[in-house]
Symmetry: C2
Subunit: 406 residues, 2 copies
């Protein structure tokens, strides 16, 4: 792959124009859009308007006049087509963690025989913490098994499965349709965590029979730091589920001030408190970066970016072991490598303008975001990484300084 | 009270200068700062910086470089002195509702004899919804009694009390020290909801023996629409409480990615998911509007504003019945009136630039925010209300249109 070839691929890329929707800092190759998506230009403009006009001038009237009150459902409806859901099946609220808690505690079927919430060892840890807390409250048990043993572990004692569709570390992807069906046969339900999937890999929740899911607003959806999360409940299940974590925004009549809780119709019952409006409306601008985008084209480009990254790294960075699956339908939209000094390598890359993520203890991870990442970016990133590895510049003491979040 | 007298009171007001810290829209008398505080000028500037520089340019690096990761504890430490707490006792996270849920489920003492969470009939309804859901999960019971019967209802079956310090409707205030002590004698704990207190009425949580509390960021604290809430746990209790609603941000080592949950030391264990950073940092600007403010002076001015409002309304609006307590130590910083057509009156006032709140079924409520409200504002507001009542202009059909949030 020469630079001219990479350049030609970018020139021929049908998604190339969407790059213009984003603020891409000079001198940076950003391979961390799966951790925090970049700023959409429209979000910057919109946030000024939200703060200075809507909060500043219209004040409390904005709940009506500027559609604040409808925002959780309105933004949910914009996410729905990106994940293969219908508009009334998605709302935006709270964090991924809190939404997992809501779904687990609402969907657990009361049954003394089905005491187990099943999840994967090494799942993103917040999922396991949430599940352990929910299980304790409900007198249930969180059982964590290795990925390869999950299917066999589904049994008559399984109440719920909590599975992350694309794994945060190496990017392994579950077969949503197969596992949902397998759980269903055993009388269990699956809560899918789509944090590393939504906005990147193909998702067809309705088609694949998914009933319950949550996902992240601040990764591929470009919603801004700590953007609220989304929550999905399939239509047929919505009226059966009564949230245990419940609040006024999910009441059927929030402004009637009734002592008695009566859940709102549909998925909106999973709203709880007043949403953080600045962050919520920034998320709306993030979702809108997908307006007019063909999600199949996104995935096709992700595959091409991955393949290029993997091939170049294999050629030029032999010290790295790629731990992500090569088959597209078995993985997400990031590529991860093992290296005994992944931490230092990551720090050296950041100092050189290539931003990826270190994941403890020995993984370096790069997010591939087709809306704003080009083929030449990948070439540049791998070349800089090869130079760091060849020269051993990652050994500089400054790159070993820990104690900060990474 | 003549206009000159009101003007003189404003001129002599030691807090008058703080008004300059806020954006106050032309032509509006804003009496709803207890529902959504006005925009601090510093928040507008800061939000541009957060969006355009920190998110836009520094991207993921901002978690370290711009102190995002410390924000929940840092902002909590700024709230602490406003409520009579120590810095390590307060964090900012999630919503009031979610924080109530966290505290109820963490603090419920496991005991088959103490099955009751006790609260007030007509409490702000989200509190009751949260408590009912938490009680169901824990196999407990939410018992709701009238305010006057609360003390007598505390008994050997009481596990927790959930009390709102200042009531959202008429503004009745509980005696925090007395009720906390009374609950303690009975072996129960109190979760205090400070939503209508923090930033307005005198609070001395440590002195008054309060052990558990939550409060709202977007009312008197001026944190912006739906700003994250705060959560307080007294020092001596922190290591005893294990959150049931738990997540990675409350883990002792969030970036070690351990499957096993180990709570962070101190109150930070009550963090759950990634915080909505735009809203969170706007809240910080809101809290900073209290920098250098003498909280005793705030309360002294609140009393004076209330007394003026009550006296003028009594003189000029005989159709209104004041339902807020007159004695300062029995109330909050808002004043409420009953009128059979409170809804229409509220709408007519808003059309005339005086923004208050309708509270179903027949209450109109005005927030008194000493940092940016003046005596002449109160005079103007009551005069406009008197004119609307005298002329009956509230009867115009347009003011009766419902179906929107109010």
């Amino acid at each position: 792959m020469t630079r001219d070839e990479a350049h030609a691929l970018d020139a021929a890329d049908p998604l190339r124009g969407f790059r213009e929707r984003f603020v891409l800092p000079e001198g940076v190759i950003y391979l961390d859009g799966n951790s925090l998506g970049v700023l959409p230009k429209a979000a910057a403009t919109r946030q000024r308007e939200v703060v200075e006009q809507e909060w500043g001038r219209s004040l409390i009237r904005s709940w009506n006049e500027h559609g604040w009150i409808e925002a959780p459902a309105r933004i949910g409806a914009k996410i729905a087509p990106l994940i293969g859901a219908r508009p009334g099946e998605v709302i935006v609220a709270d964090s991924v963690s809190v939404n997992i808690f809501k779904l687990l505690t609402a969907a657990a079927a009361p049954s003394p025989e089905r005491r187990v919430i099943l999840s994967e060892a090494g799942n993103f840890h917040t999922d396991l913490h949430v599940a352990s807390g929910a299980a304790e409250l409900m007198g249930m048990e969180l059982r964590v098994v290795e990925r390869g043993e999950l299917e066999a572990a589904i049994g008559p004692d399984t109440n719920l499965l909590l599975l992350t569709h694309v794994h945060y570390k190496a990017g392994f992807r579950f077969d949503m349709a197969a596992l949902t069906a397998r759980a269903g046969e055993a009388g269990a339900r699956v809560v899918w965590d789509l944090s590393h999937s939504a906005g990147a890999v193909p998702l067809q929740l309705n088609r694949d029979g998914a009933e319950l899911a949550v996902g992240c607003g601040y990764k591929y959806l470009n919603g801004g730091p700590g953007a609220p999360a989304f929550l999905y409940v399939a239509k047929h299940l919505q009226e059966q589920l009564i949230p245990a974590l419940r609040g006024w925004m999910g009441h059927s009549a929030p402004f009637a001030f009734h002592d008695h809780y009566e859940p709102a119709p549909g998925v909106s019952r999973f709203l709880v408190g007043t949403p953080p409006m600045l962050s919520l409306l920034a998320l709306e601008s993030g979702i809108e970066t997908f307006d007019g985008v063909d999600m199949d084209a996104v995935w096709t480009k992700s595959i091409a970016l991955f393949d290029l990254f993997a091939r170049l790294a294999e050629e030029r960075c032999p010290a790295l072991e790629c731990i992500s699956p090569r088959e597209p339908d078995r993985r997400g939209s990031h590529i991860s490598f093992r290296h005994p000094h992944a931490f230092e390598l990551c720090q050296a890359l950041i100092a050189d303008g290539v931003i990826g993520d270190f994941r403890s203890p020995d993984v370096i991870r790069f997010g591939l975001t087709p809306l704003y990442l080009g083929f030449e970016d990948v070439l540049d990133a791998v070349e800089r990484m090869a130079a760091i590895l060849d020269t051993g510049s990652w050994r500089e003491p400054r790159f070993a300084v820990r104690g900060k979040v990474t």
